[in-house]
């Protein structure tokens, strides 16, 4: 791979890592506005991270190495995921090493590690959170995979760059199957990123929470990494959504520096819209009981499969 490509890859990585906290902040801000609260500043997540990094880590006495390793692995997998999802440019050298199925695999790895870490201390809430997280996981993962299958069948490839190139390529076509897939994807996104109606990122009521329950025992730098990673996860999902459903505005293969520079604001714009939309959805919907989550995700799964069938019937 050329040095330029490598540079582009790294640049995109840095962009993702730095934008992720802003996205979280932006969503929180929008929610606050929609709920007539005074909004925290956009920079808030960054401040949070800095504070956490400065603190001393307080570990449970019998916490094992796995517990301390998990946040790094989590962060690592998410960064890697960011490296293979085209956000600004489609020509990503690293994307050849792992296609979209591997991407799902990476998400699963992250999930397994955080769940294991949550069980390590052996507190009631930690294990409960791990169990719920894994349940959401094994329901959401097939749905996500089916969503991706739609795109794969359309583009005849599982490598995300070529998917994007195929979908973005003129002439502009309307894919009815993608409509189904889009809704399904949104539902998966909500579930996977600990959002209402499945989980509530803001809550600290132990019995309703999933993500929070898992990371209860984390503090300081470890917590910082975990939070950063979850921010990255949201970012990744957003970019994945863009790649599948609004693939326009990305720097195509072989596009010059100007193309890249144009692509960045496009991305930011998309993120802003997406964040706002997410906030709206979260505000409008109420949190489901945990037992209803399966139905919610089953619906997502069915929609994705429907999209698949529509594609196979209409060939579109």
């Amino acid at each position: 791979m050329s040095r330029l490509a490598l540079a582009r890859q790294l640049g995109e990585l840095l962009l993702a890592v730095s934008l992720a906290p802003f996205l979280v902040g932006w969503v929180a801000q929008c929610r606050a506005w929609l709920q007539n609260r005074t909004a925290p500043p956009l920079i808030q997540p960054w401040r949070m991270l800095r504070k956490l990094f400065l603190k001393d880590a307080a570990l449970a006495g019998h916490a094992s190495a796995l517990f301390r390793l998990a946040p790094y692995v989590l962060f690592g997998t998410m960064v890697l995921a960011a490296a293979i999802i085209p956000s600004v440019a489609t020509d990503l050298p690293f994307a050849r090493a792992a296609d979209a199925i591997a991407l799902v695999g990476l998400f699963a790895t992250a999930r397994v590690f955080i769940a294991l870490a949550a069980m390590d201390i052996g507190t009631a809430f930690g294990t409960m959170g791990a169990r719920r997280e894994m349940m959401i996981g094994f329901l959401a993962e097939p749905a996500l995979l089916m969503v991706l299958f739609n795109a794969f069948l359309l583009s005849g490839s599982t490598a995300l760059p070529s998917v994007v190139e195929h979908l973005a390529a003129p002439p502009f076509v309307i894919y009815p199957s993608l409509a189904f897939a889009g809704v399904a994807f949104l539902m998966v996104l909500l579930a996977e990123n600990a959002r209402i109606p499945i989980d509530n990122p803001a809550t600290h009521l132990e019995l309703t929470m999933i993500h929070e329950a898992m990371v209860l025992e984390y503090s300081a730098r470890h917590l910082a990494l975990v939070e950063w990673a979850s921010g990255l996860k949201l970012f990744n999902y957003a970019c994945l959504g863009f790649a599948l459903f609004v693939p326009w505005g990305m720097a195509a293969r072989g596009a010059g520096t100007t193309g890249l520079l144009l692509a960045v604001p496009a991305l930011v714009g998309k993120l802003a819209l997406a964040g706002a939309g997410l906030a709206v959805v979260e505000t409008l919907s109420a949190k489901l009981r945990i037992f209803r989550a399966p139905e919610f995700l089953a619906m997502a799964f069915l929609l994705a499969v429907l999209g698949l069938l529509v594609h196979l019937r209409l060939g579109a």
Binding site: V79, I101, G105, R131, P142, S157, S162, L216, E217, R313
Partner: protein
């Protein structure tokens, strides 16, 4: 017939003989553990290495099949042996996993009640040898002999602790179903020879069968080998027998013996019958997927760690068979390349499963020895007592959960790739139906991750649920080496899937006339086409490690590494005990909730006024009552009916003779 002795085959036979000699050597001093375990088993491991090496040689491109005829067996039907790519692949599997397991066994077996170590050694090596002969056999008689010897030796190994009634029951069920399966296989061969009355496999290859008979043979083969592999509904013996056996034996059975069934199915459906109508593939695919889902769901609700692994074996066998079914399906429509892709996925999954399932079973063995406990409800927190086992078991856990960059992911990735090609099938409703298979597959894989988190988390993580666990400790070096060997295999095959693809390619080439590329380079595999899909385990691994490393260094550089050890915060609730952790049953709850129809549940709910409330739930398999008990009752009834004949009255007996005489006389006239 070969004039000059075929080198590799003869070498393999010599190794088999070596195994048998080691086994017999065990009888010299049957009760001397030091001699049997520390000497014979490691030697057996060395022999396994030789086996693996020979098989690798036989898998090299340009190797033509080797055949040999021994002057043993029936006068008209001496023992035929044959070493081709397909058998070599499974020999390789036996050798690789066998080496690790034997090493571990060297440290594992100790004097206790039950079968004497020396006798165990004999049975163990006979088991290994018979598995190899099953794969090498080239005529029906030798195959059946090896097949049943395999069943028999493993049966004796399963019942090593025969003083425990449950184990006796398990052994009986196992051997019974194995025998029924063997009968089906025998019938299958009887049909296969197709009028040539050649019971050599060569004759069966040539045999031109009428389609109807071909289907009969296929179904018989599916039943016979499915019974050994544990396909639903013939799976009932598996969760009983595998946990009952000593752990190295469980590893052999789950990791290797199930694969011999896969081998047999491949031989029959691909080599002899040479593919068939599309519904064969559909049937195998459907059965496989259902078995996979079934196994995963049941594994999720188990409370015994070895039963959990056994059900997970059922799941993996299901995945393998769905791969085979997909291959048959593609082949039925002449899509050879895609068939090769699916077949490679299945084969590689065989190899992977052999490695990580053995690894996990052996790990449970160490846990069992360290704690004497199989019940998940009484384990926990072992990662702090047994760091080695915990670390190595983590590798196995991640691998079997199908997570990149380990080997489990590779085969699942390939299988999904194969599913992506199903729209090419020129049959309207098939190519709409089969993608749903991909969905089921995805669900199964995700469930497997759930199961393994439960497995690892409950055993190794959290706080010890029993006081006695604090005495647990890591096993000796032999065990560690064995576990390490298998773990290394998982990582290696995960990082360089090209190796496995090369091996499977050597198999699919002769079978299908097509083989997927072993990737453009060692670093990258792109089975169909580079722009279509590509994956590089080693790069992913390197990527994760790099990011983790960089992050770690940065965090330490920019900030600090100060750590304060405290009591767990736990929402500021200090009165929580280890018993308040989630139990295995608790982990099963969501699955019981979502997949309710699969189970037959008996709940014991405490009453609100109960002073010492206890909650018990018993989950069992619907099929047992729906299928097996009725058969048993039917036979019982028939037996009662027959017993009337022997009524004890002499006059009646005379009457029988009289009537028989009269009847025959009438018949003659």
């Amino acid at each position: 017939m070969s004039i000059a002795a075929p080198p590799l085959l003869v070498l393999l036979l010599a190794l088999v003989a070596a195994w048998l000699c080691l086994g017999l050597a065990g009888l010299i001093r049957p009760h001397h553990v030091g001699f049997v375990a520390r000497v014979l088993f490691p030697l057996g491991a060395l022999v396994s290495l030789g086996v693996a090496w020979t098989a690798w040689g036989a898998l090299q491109p340009g190797q033509s099949p080797e055949t040999l005829v021994l002057p043993l067996g029936l006068p008209e039907l001496p023992f035929h042996l044959r070493l081709d790519a397909l058998s070599a692949f499974f020999v390789l599997l036996v050798g690789l996993a066998g080496a690790g397991i034997s090493t571990f066994a060297g440290g594992y077996f100790r004097a206790g009640q039950g079968t004497a170590p020396g006798l165990l050694c004999l049975q163990y090596h006979v088991f290994l040898a018979s598995m190899l002969l099953v794969v090498l056999a080239d005529d029906a008689y030798l195959f059946m002999v090896a097949w049943e010897t395999m069943a028999l030796s493993s049966y004796f190994l399963v019942t090593a602790q025969h003083r425990i009634p449950d184990i006796r029951r398990a052994g009986f069920l196992y051997l019974l179903i194995a025998h029924v399966g063997a009968i089906a296989i025998l019938l299958c061969f009887g049909v296969l020879q197709g009028g040539s009355w050649q019971f050599t496999f060569q004759g069966m290859r040539g045999g031109a069968l009428r389609p109807a008979w071909g289907s009969v043979a296929f179904l018989l083969g599916l039943v016979g080998f499915g019974a050994k592999a544990g396909l639903v509904p013939l799976h009932v013996w598996l969760p009983e027998a595998h946990p009952a056996a000593p752990s190295p034996v469980s590893a052999l059975m789950s990791g290797l013996m199930l694969k011999t069934a896969v081998y047999g199915f491949l031989r029959v459906s691909f080599d002899f019958l040479n593919g068939g109508p599309w519904w064969w593939g559909g049937l195998a695919l459907g059965l496989g997927l259902f078995t996979a889902l079934f196994g995963a769901v049941f594994a999720a609700v188990q409370t015994d760690m070895k039963r959990l692994l056994a059900y997970s074996s059922i799941e993996n066998v299901g995945l393998i068979f769905s791969g085979l079914g997909l291959a048959l399906l593609f082949r039925a429509f002449g899509l050879q390349l895609f068939a090769a892709l699916a077949l490679s996925a299945a084969l590689i999954h065989c190899l992977n499963h052999a490695l990580f399932k053995s690894l996990l079973f052996l790990a449970t063995g160490s846990v069992l020895h360290a704690t004497g406990e199989r019940n998940l409800g009484k384990l926990g927190g072992l990662i702090r007592r047994m760091p080695w086992v915990a670390a190595l078991a983590l590798v196995g856990t991640l691998a079997i959960a199908g997570l990149p960059p380990l080997n489990g992911f590779v085969s699942e990735w390939l299988l999904l790739q194969a599913f992506l090609d199903t729209p090419h099938i020129p049959k309207a409703f098939l190519n709409m139906l089969v993608p749903l298979g991909a969905a089921a597959l995805a669900l199964t894989v995700a469930l497997a991750a759930y199961v393994m988190v439960k497995f690892y988390g409950v055993i190794f993580l959290g706080q010890p649920r029993e006081a006695s666990l604090t005495h647990a400790h890591d096993p000796g070096w032999l065990e560690r080496v064995g576990l390490g060997w298998l773990a290394a295999g998982c990582v290696l095959l995960g990082a360089f899937p090209g190796l496995a693809l090369a091996a499977s390619g050597a198999v699919t080439g002769p079978l299908l006339g097509a083989a997927v590329r072993a990737g453009p380079s060692v670093w990258l595999i792109a089975p169909v086409a580079a722009e279509r899909a590509s994956y590089s385990g080693v790069l992913v691994l390197a990527g994760i490690l790099a990011v983790v490393g960089v992050t770690f260094v940065l965090v330490r550089r920019l900030y600090h590494g100060r750590v304060r050890r405290t009591a767990p915060w736990d929402c500021g609730d200090p009165w929580q005990t280890a018993r308040m952790q989630d139990t295995a049953e608790g982990f099963g709850q969501p699955v019981r909730h979502i997949f309710g129809p699969f189970f037959r549940m008996e709940r014991q709910l405490p009453s609100p006024w109960d002073s010492a409330p206890r909650y018990r739930i018993h989950v069992e398999d619907r099929l047992w009552r729906a299928l097996y008990l009725p058969i048993g009752r039917g036979v019982e009834r028939l037996a009662e009916a027959v017993a009337v004949v022997q009524g004890g009255r002499l006059a009646i007996y005379l009457l029988y003779g009289f009537l028989t005489l009269i009847g025959l006389l009438v018949f003659v006239l």
